[in-house]
Point group: C2
Chain length 395, copies 2
């Protein structure tokens, strides 16, 4: 197992910082950008020149005349290129073409089983990507990069899934290499919850540097943005909280082989199982959500208790990561305020006051497409990075 290389990590960090300031589309001067990013003026000037040559940023008429020579302003040109953004779940696939501001230009979702293996799934991506590009009349040369989220751990530096439990056939598969045989652009791959954290931040928390996105669905996982950067950890599995043990769960057997894991107590199927034991008709998380929406008291109480279990683990996360926002997403978040109420009950009771004084625990603002938007962000960050700009210039 190779750690993410330093050069890659830095490239992404630096790029994401400049990108943060460009992506809102507001016109800025070079010196404003230098001040905002802390990068040297010479660095900013060189980067902006490169971006302009490629048409990625364009000069903008100054809004206010300063009397003397007006400062030269510029802004991101979102239409200059497009990216493909794919979000693969256990049994669904979503693919979008977005511009460089992350705006979706065309999108398709389908039932697709990740267990069908990489050739079938990535073949769908290539084929559907070409069709979507054609639909909106964009040429293959307009495509700048592809971002892909998959439901398992990924070695981000190489784009290879590593021991993914629900992705048979994908272990160490060279995802970028395969896709590039058909579409010759940079391909970025990451865990689905990580890209949801990026997407949620893009949509709802663009100025927040410390955010944790928790997905509660068939499994439970989280993506952590800390210090403005997505944290992947040494093996690309940072945020994998589904198998942390919960006090209440001593007897619950988990599919991982351990007992008492959070996922064995608070995931959609785990809640459904608990409801079945109490005589209710529930098999999937979807059934649980339906029961809650119908006001079934047993289901409401079970979801609230699942929230408390998740809150128990998140209390440790709050101490360790010290986020300012925790976003709850995934299909079980559709059970409404009950899940979040249980989480808040424990997080706000058990954490240190300094850690929670400014902490918000909220529902996802992009429950349907955080994954696609995050995959788009992953791709765009790369396109606007020094590495990405070099690659575009060389084409």
């Amino acid at each position: 197992m190779v750690e993410v290389t330093r050069s890659t990590a830095l490239g992404v960090v630096g790029a994401s910082e400049l990108f943060q300031f460009l992506r809102d589309g507001a016109p800025r001067t070079r010196s404003a950008l230098a001040q905002a990013t802390g990068l040297a003026r010479s660095t900013i000037a060189a980067r902006v020149d490169e971006l302009m040559e490629l048409g990625l940023v364009t000069p903008v008429a100054d809004a206010v005349s300063t009397g003397g020579r007006p400062p030269s302003q510029f802004a991101l040109n979102p239409a200059a290129r497009v990216v493909l953004a794919a979000d693969f779940g256990a049994s669904h696939a979503s693919l979008a073409v977005t511009d460089l501001a992350g705006t979706v230009l065309a999108e398709r979702s389908e039932a697709l089983d990740i267990a069908d293996g990489p050739v079938r799934v990535l073949g769908w991506l290539v084929e559907t990507g070409r069709a979507l590009m054609a639909e909106i009349g964009r040429d293959r040369t307009d495509l700048a990069a592809i971002g892909i989220g998959v439901p398992g751990p990924v070695e981000h530096a190489t784009g290879r899934p590593v021991n993914p439990p629900i992705m048979p056939g994908w272990d160490r598969f060279d995802v970028p290499g395969w896709v590039q045989q058909h579409l010759e652009v940079p391909v970025l791959v990451d865990n689905d919850v990580n890209i949801m954290a990026l997407g949620e931040r893009q949509v709802a928390w663009p100025r927040t540097d410390h955010l944790m996105f928790v997905k509660v669905a068939t499994g439970i996982g989280s993506g952590i943005v800390s210090g403005g950067a997505l944290q992947r950890g040494a093996q690309g599995i940072a945020g994998d909280i589904g198998h942390v043990q919960v006090a209440r769960g001593a007897e619950a057997a988990c599919h991982c082989g351990n007992r008492g894991c959070l996922e064995a107590l608070a995931s959609g199927p785990a809640i459904a199982r608990a409801l079945r034991e109490r005589g209710l008709d529930a098999v999937t998380g979807r059934d649980v959500v339906d029961l809650v929406k119908r006001g079934d008291l047993t289901a409401v109480q079970a979801v609230r208790q699942a929230g408390r279990d998740i809150g128990e683990v998140l209390t440790a996360c709050v101490s360790l990561v010290n986020p300012s926002v925790i976003v709850i997403g995934g299909s079980m978040a559709q059970a409404g305020e009950q899940l979040i109420a249980g989480i808040r009950e424990i997080v706000y009771t058990r954490s240190m006051p300094l850690a929670t004084a400014h902490l918000q625990v909220v529902q996802s603002a992009a429950p349907e497409n955080a994954g696609v938007l995050g995959a788009s962000m992953l791709a765009i960050q790369h396109v606007l990075s020094p590495e990405g700009v070099d690659a575009l210039a060389a084409r």
Copy 2:
């Protein structure tokens, strides 16, 4: 509470990356540095020119002639400037003058109570710093920056302690402002465990980007290096694991007002209290360490159990942060292998295999001076950052 500004965060990240490659003193070419850091060549060239003008890096004769014009190599010049590095604990103070490679040139340690307040403690720093500089014959103009670690949460962007529980009189005190009235150089302040993580990495794990340093002493806390950068969190309290609840601890009252906190079970004083209840003569963590070293079986078992309690919390940390190294330091680490054995027992049993396959849990390699070395790193990173270089050039 203001979050660490993006510009500051980026300045530190970028600087630390270039610094990583310079600090080993090995000669390198500009293009080798560009390749290693992922920064644009123009950026590297500009940075190196600035550093050379200030004497911080110097040209080095090429070791191997390449036949044609040899590439121009250069290396860090550690003697060009010095920094002051201070590590303040609850009741001790250490201060060192180091060169730009972090080599200690002069050092002093004293019993000093942090509760005496900032004017008394920082006054000691200024006075002792001047004396140490004089001792080694370095001029005031040689001093480039000051790094300070304190035993409490710090808003890193401003250098102000925030609600520090054991530092009366320090809340929101402008540490850099006060010190700069006497020594006009940049002053960087951080939590003591954070700087220990930096120091430990410098000494023992220079190529590790995902490291967690756990201090077990009168209190319990941790410093997290993730993706190559120290993670501070939204309020500067990331890594504050002492008040995470432990299953076994339901009845243990903690000084924070909650029950069952890790610190109420596994800190030095907590173990001593447990031993007193069993008739042994122990008041401090020091007494516990002495008993273990004398082979007292009850003390050995108590320390091992404390290790298991710490391991329980670290299991969540392993899932969340996915480090490749966990370093155990602080005075209780001197109890030897018993503490670590307890930690390993739980971490390796309860964590997911993928997270522990490449995880090392080790004792601190710099138990005595990780704090001072980390404070030195904090200062040197700033000196070599674009911001720091600009400040030096303007003097």
